[in-house]
Subunit: 353 residues, 4 copies
C-alpha cells in the first residue's frame, strides 16, 4: 500500500489491558490504519512501552487521559476496551462528535437493554445509541456492519459458541432446547488485573468450571441464537478455566431433528454456510480443532461429528480468545465497516508449536 | 500397626508405567502390605530405581520377567497394570494358583465380553474368569468386593463420570437419555509411552477433544449406568485433553424429571448416597470442584447445580486420574476385599498449590 | 503411636498463605503433633476451610485474631508464617510466655541485624532475642537446634543453594570467590497475594531473571557460606522464575582448587558429608536432579559434575520450595528440637508424574 | 511488492519437523519468496497439510522424496532442516547444481571439521564445501553473508549466548576464562520426535539441567568466541529444560577487567555494538528480558547488569528458539545474502500474553 494513501486515524481507549495490547499489536501492522491516540485511566501519563517494554521499538506513544474532545479531534474511529458500564457513557458523546465506535465490552451487544441491566446490574439511559449498535460478528451480520456507526463486539465465549451453532439454528437442523455449550477458556480471558485464582500457582495444573448456570454470556448467546432460529432459544452454557494462556474451545451438543443426517452432510452444510467467511475453517470428518491451531490468529476452526448412537451432533470450535474472541474481531468489523477486504491486517497462520 | 503383624505379600505386573509407579509409591506407604514382586516385559532386568531414580532411597527392587509360577510363589495378591488384552491371559493362571487379582486394564470391566471384543478388537475365551470379576468401584460395589477374587478396576473417565451420575440414576431423578458427559483429562492418562501428540511442545497451551462419539470408555460407562438405572442407558461421552499432568474433571448434564427439585435438594441426596464413602466429598452449593484439590489423593470432589431456566442438573466431579482413577482405587478395592478400613494407606489431603 | 501419648500442641500464625497451608497439611499428618491454634490478620474470623475448601473434611478450625495471650495459653510451639518484620514483634512476647518459636520469615535468619536492616529496610530492637535464634538448616546446625528456643528457618533459595555448596566450603575445595549460584524457582515462591507478573497469563510460557545482583537472599547465603568457610565469602546469586508451581533448582558453579579431583571423588565427599542427613540424596554420576522428583517431599536431590576442561565443579540441587524450602524444613527443625526422628511426619516420596 | 516482481524460488528439505513448519509459516508470508518444493524422508508422499492441518487453507503442497535433480530444477535456494550428518551429503551436490544453501543442522557451523567429528561422531569428507560455509549469525558475519553460497545457521543456544557475549569479547572487556553460560530452553528445542522425557506428563512442572559439561553446542560457542576475542576461549555451558514450549534465556556471567565499568557504560557499549542490528534490542538498566517478549519473533532482547560487589557482569538474552534460534535466523541470513532488507518477512512484535 503506497505511502500516499491516507491511513485511517484510530484511537484506543483502555490501552493497558490485554484487549488494548492486542489492538495496538494488530493495528500497528494494519496497512490502512494509523494509531492516533491511546487512552487510559489509571495508566494515563505512562508510556505504552512502560507497560509493554517488548514493544518499545515499534510503539512510542503516551497513554493519555480519556478526553472526548481530544479523541474526536484526532480519531475517525475509536476502539473502546474498557470494563463494562463505561462505554455506554463515552460512546454517545463520541458518536455525537462524528467518531465511529467499536466497543469491546458488553455494553452494546444487547438489543434489549433490560436484559443487559438485569445481568450486569448497570442501569442504562442510552437507548437511542444502543438501538443503532450492530452485533459485531461479521460472519452473521456482515451486511449490517457495512453501514454501522457503532458496533458491539461479541464476547470471546459467544464468538466461539455462535460460530459453532449458527448453521444448525439457521437451517433448523436441531431441537433448539437441547443445545448445550460446554466451553473452556485460557486464563487470559480474565484480563490483566491481578486476581488470586488466576495466579499461575493456583490456575496451573488445575481445571474447574465456574459461573455454572449463571454466566453473563448466556443471554448474549441466547439473543443471537433466537435471532437465527426466529424463535426464542434457551441454551445451557458452562464455562471452564483451562490451565493455559490463550484459546477457547467450545464443545456444543444438540439433538438432530432429522435422524438421517450424517457427519459428512453437516460438513457440507457448514462449508456452504461459511463459504464467504475467510476466517472460519471447517475441518474434514474425524479431524477436531485444537486451540493451538488458532493461537495468534483471527481464525475459527470447526469440527463436526454426528453420533448415530445418540442422535446428537457434536460441534467443536476453537478460537484465540484475545484475537477472534476480542481484538481481531473488532478489526474485522472495522474492515467490514470500511468496505475493505475483511482479512486486511489480520493474521491467518498460527505459529506452531 | 505393630511390626509383628504379617504384611500381605503383593506383586505388581507392569511396574514401569504410570500405573506401576503409583502402585509402588502408594503400597510402599501402606501399613499392611509388602511389595514382594515387580514384573515387566521390556523393562525386565532393570532395577525399578533405574526407571524412577527419585525413589531409589525407598525402593530397591528389580523388575523381573513375568512368570506365573514365580509370582504365585511369592504373592497373595497381584496387581496387573498392563496394556489391554494381556491381563486376560495371565489372570486365569494366577487365579488357578490361588492369587487374588486386581486388574487395572479394561479386560475385566465388562459383564458382556462381546461388547469388550467389539470395542477393543480383542477376542476372548476366558468367560468363566470374566464372570467372576467384580467392577472395582467401591462406592457402588462395596459388598461384592468383600468376596471378590478378581476385580476389574474402572478406567479414569468412568470413575469420575459414574460417581457424578450414580445418585441421579439410582434414584431415577433424570431422563436417562439426556445424559451428556463432557470429560477433560490431564495428559498423564495417555501413559508413559512416547507419543507425538502428548509431547509438551504439542500438548501444552493446547486443548482439544478426541475420540468424539467413539471412545472406548463409553460402553463401560453405559454398562454401569444401565445397572444402576435397571434399564438400558445410552450416554454421550466426549473426552478432551487438558494441558496439564494429572486430573480429570467430568461435567455431566441431564434433564431432571421433577422440575421442582433445586440445588440444595440434590446436595442432600448426594450426601446421603455417599454417606459411607469416605473418598467422595460433596461440595456446598455454589462451590465447584477443582482438579488440583484432588491431585495426589484418592478423593473425588463433586459439585451439583440445578439450572431452573433449563430444567437441567449439572454435576461436576474431580479426581486424580492416576490415583482415584487408577492405582489408588485398586488399593481401595483391595482394602475392601481384605475387610480393612477402606482408607488404609490412601492419601486424603492434596498438596496445595 | 498410641493414642495415649500426649501430642505437642502447636499454633500457626499466618495460616492463610502458602506457608500456612503447607504447615496445616503436614502437621495434620504428623503423629506427635496437634494443631491447637490458627491465627491470621486479614483472614481472622473465617474458617480455614473457607480459604481451602478441599481440606474441609480434615481441618475444621477457625482462623483467630493474633493474640499473644491466647496463643501462649494453648500452644507449646508456634510457627510464624508472616511477612518480614512481624515475627520480630511477636517472637519476644511469645518466648517470654514460654513458647518455642519457628519463624518462616527472614527476621531471625541473621546473626548481624544491621545486615538485615540494610537489606530489608526494617529497623530492629530485639537484639537479645535475635542472638538466641538458630539458623534452621538441620543438615548444618543439627546440634544447635537440639537446644533452640527460637529458630529462623531459611528461605527457599538459601536452602537449595547452601545444601549444594556446603561440602565444598566446609572442606575448602573451591576458590570461594568464584561461586556463582544460578537459581530457578516456581512461582509459588511469590506467595498467594495477587500480583500481575505472577498471573498464569503472564508467567506461563515465560522465563526471566529478577533482582539480578540485588536479591535479599544473597546476604543470608553469604552469612552461612562465611560461617562454613571460616572466612568472608561473597557469592553471585541470580534468581529466575520458572513457569511452574513448585520447585527450585540451583545450579552452582565454582572453580576447584585441586585440579586432580574428578566427579566421583566429589560424589564420595558429598555422600560422606550428608551421611546423617536423611533428606539429602546424592545422585550417581551423570544423573542430575529434577525438581519434579522433590515435589511434595522434604527431600533435596543433589547432582555433581566436575568439568575437567574448565576446572570447575557444577553442583545442582532440587527441592520443593514450599516443603524443604519452607514448611517441611520448619517441621524438620521442630523434630530436631524435640529430639524426635528428623523424618517424623515428613513425606519422602514424590508423586510422579 | 508488486505481483510482477519475480519471487525467489526456494525449497525446504525436512519440512515435517519444527524447523520445517517454521520455515513454511515464515516463507509463506515473505514478500519476495515462493516455496517451490517441500521434501522429506519418512513423510514423503503425504501432504504438508496432513501433518499440520491448521495450515491447510494456506499451504497446499505435497512432501516429495528428496531428489537433488528435482530440487535443483525448481529452486534457487534450498533450506536444509535435517538431522545432523545429512546436510553434508546433500549440500555439495546441490551447490554443484547451482543452488544456494542454508543449513539448519550442525554440519556447516564448524571451521574445523575435526572438532565437528569429535563431538558429533560423524566422519566428514566435504572439506571444500565446509570451507566455503559462512556462520549464519548476521549480527556478527553480515558482510561475509553477502557473498555466501552456503550458510551454516547457528544452533539456538549459540545464538542466544553469542549475542549476549559478543560485545564483551570483541571489546576485550572481560576475563574470557571466567565466562559461564547458564542457558534454559523450552522443550520444542528437542524437536517433534516422540521422546519420553519430553512428554508433557514428564516435562511439565519440572526443571532440570542436562548434558552438563558436555553439550555439543559448547565447541560451536567457543569457536565464535575465540574468533571474536582473537584468542582461544573456553566457556562453561550448561543447558536446562524449561517446562514451556518456546524460548531460550541465557544468563551469562563474566568477570570484568576494568572494575570501574558500571551498568550504564555497558548498556551504551551494547547499543553501539548492535546499532545496525534491527533484531537485537538492548534493554534499559534494571529491565531484564523475558522469553515471552521474543516468542513468535526474530528478536533478541538483551539485559545487562554489573554487580559492583563481585566485579562481574551478568548478561541475559532472550530469543524464540525456533525463530531467531532457527528458522527466522536462516531467513535473515537469506535476506543478507540477497541484499534485501534484513528484516524482510520476519516478525518483530510478539503476541502478548
Amino acid at each position: 500500500m503506497s505511502e500516499q494513501i491516507e491511513r485511517l486515524q484510530v484511537g484506543i481507549v483502555g490501552a493497558s489491558g490485554y484487549g488494548g495490547v492486542q489492538l495496538v499489536r494488530l493495528l500497528q501492522d494494519h496497512p490502512a490504519i494509523e494509531i492516533a491516540y491511546l487512552g487510559g485511566d489509571s495508566s494515563a501519563g505512562k508510556n505504552f512501552a512502560d507497560l509493554y517494554p517488548h514493544l518499545a521499538h515499534v510503539v512510542n506513544l503516551p497513554i493519555e487521559p480519556i478526553d472526548v474532545v481530544t479523541i474526536a479531534s484526532r480519531c475517525q474511529v475509536v476502539f473502546l476496551a474498557l470494563p463494562n458500564g463505561l462505554a455506554c457513557e463515552l460512546a454517545p458523546q463520541l458518536l455525537a462528535k462524528g467518531c465511529s465506535i467499536l466497543d469491546l465490552s458488553a455494553d452494546y451487544r444487547f438489543s434489549d437493554l433490560d436484559i443487559y441491566s438485569q445481568w450486569y446490574k448497570i442501569p442504562r439511559t442510552d437507548r437511542e445509541t444502543a438501538a443503532m449498535a450492530v452485533y459485531g460478528l461479521p460472519e452473521l451480520y456482515r451486511a449490517k456492519l457495512a453501514n454501522a456507526k457503532i458496533v458491539g463486539c461479541p464476547g470471546c465465549y459467544p464468538t466461539a459458541s455462535l460460530l459453532a451453532l449458527s448453521p444448525l439454528l439457521k437451517q433448523g437442523l436441531i431441537d433448539t432446547n437441547t443445545a448445550i455449550i460446554d466451553a473452556k477458556s485460557g486464563t487470559s480471558g480474565g484480563g490483566r488485573q491481578a486476581k488470586t485464582h488466576l495466579l499461575l500457582a493456583e490456575a496451573d495444573n488445575n481445571f474447574t468450571a465456574y459461573s455454572v448456570a449463571g454466566h453473563r454470556h448466556t443471554p448474549e448467546i441466547e439473543q443471537i441464537c433466537s435471532d437465527l432460529a426466529s424463535h426464542e432459544v434457551k441454551v445451557q452454557f458452562t464455562p471452564h478455566l483451562i490451565p493455559m494462556v490463550r484459546g477457547i474451545l467450545s464443545t456444543v451438543y444438540a439433538t438432530i431433528r432429522d435422524p438421517g443426517l450424517v457427519t459428512e452432510d453437516l460438513i457440507v452444510i457448514y462449508k456452504a454456510f461459511y463459504r464467504s467467511s475467510p476466517f472460519v475453517r471447517i475441518l474434514d470428518g474425524g479431524v477436531y480443532p485444537q486451540t493451538k491451531w488458532a493461537a495468534g490468529t483471527n481464525l475459527c476452526y470447526i469440527g463436526v461429528e454426528v453420533d448415530p448412537r445418540t442422535g446428537r451432533v457434536i460441534v467443536m470450535s476453537a478460537i484465540d480468545n484475545l484475537i477472534k474472541g476480542q481484538a481481531g474481531q473488532a478489526i474485522q468489523c472495522l474492515n467490514a465497516m470500511m468496505g475493505w477486504d475483511e482479512t486486511l491486517g489480520l493474521p491467518q497462520m498460527s505459529f506452531y508449536p
